[in-house]
Symmetry: C2
Subunit: 230 residues, 2 copies
Amino acid sequence: MPILYHHPMSTASRFVRLIFAEYGFQAELVEEMIWEKRKDFLAINPAGTLPVYVDDNMRTLCGATIISEFMDETSGVLKRDRRLLAEDPFQRAEIRRLTEWFLFKMEQDVTKPLVRERIFKLQMTPEQGGGAPDSKVLRTARNNIRQHMRYLAWLAGTRKWLAGDRLSYADLSAAAAISVLDYLGEIDWSDAPQVKEWYQRFKSRPSFRPLLNDRIRGVTPVPHYADLDF
Amino acid sequence: MPILYHHPMSTASRFVRLIFAEYGFQAELVEEMIWEKRKDFLAINPAGTLPVYVDDNMRTLCGATIISEFMDETSGVLKRDRRLLAEDPFQRAEIRRLTEWFLFKMEQDVTKPLVRERIFKLQMTPEQGGGAPDSKVLRTARNNIRQHMRYLAWLAGTRKWLAGDRLSYADLSAAAAISVLDYLGEIDWSDAPQVKEWYQRFKSRPSFRPLLNDRIRGVTPVPHYADLDF
């Protein structure tokens, strides 16, 4: 069976797991601790990033953007109204723009620093950069959440799904990021009714269930993490 | 005419200018100083990144990845053996992987810090973060060049073009990055014969000429910058 190297707290990995699940595509999940810089893993993906897909013929696809484009070309194109990228080039560009936003901009501003400080540093040795969370980094990332939640509220409030009338990669990438932050209790839902309504709708999809079963050693999720009605 | 917001020392902007030139696609170039965080520009691209394309109907495309995918869908697909992305999904993935490598990994490790320290900080006010270059940042970035040049040498030495037999986005993105570094005199060509041979071949393409005419206020390029035979 093909393999997907991933980490449960990696937004990009969750995004690809959601695509696979929406398209009914099977892959074996293998957890990779990227900070260990394993030689065998770097031989597959010199950039050292997650997720990485390896098929039965050892052909590899490195990174969420590349895997998502590949999935569109090989699966999405056959799915008609269940395709997660649009047909129109400008609409495709809007979906890609939002997907980049959640996978890279929000990742850099919010998700990556919070996950690194609160999860990865617990699992790293001191030589790998492990230790106590840096409170300044946490503060900055938490300040940045607000701006991203406002943008998400605007998208969720003006469109049926984040990029328009149809479910798309934009929703999958946003839900991937939000679910990581929600696991950590970093989302204030009382303040975000429109985002909550959108996320509840997404959370009840069968594709999302495996993500709600993810558990990280030493870090329990908030009590409502797996509740569809929170 | 459509507009391309760009900066002459932005690898991603150069990459898109090369695509446009290879495909004979016209756009007016408008220089954007992203550190000024202009409101009108952020309204077009909230992520604040370059390049940004705006067509005659004010439809926008933000960022090199999105513009390059759009160009493939609307122009590339018609170009047969001059298409800059392949037809086979795995080969497309390899081209995209290398393009990401040069536009993001090499950018982060080498190009972005060198350009920021040596060019942008000269043009920024102190409030914007301007000032003298940070010698520690320069040293780290220069150390990282070696590893990237080794990888490039391996690619150039084992393949006709960087991603295989045909010119592709991989070559355009690599040449975009190398040309920025070469402008700044950061490439030691005596040490990289295979990369030099590939770059010379690329440099003589008509699409490359406009980039060789770029000049930055206050920073003269190395004498060989525009020479096809250096």
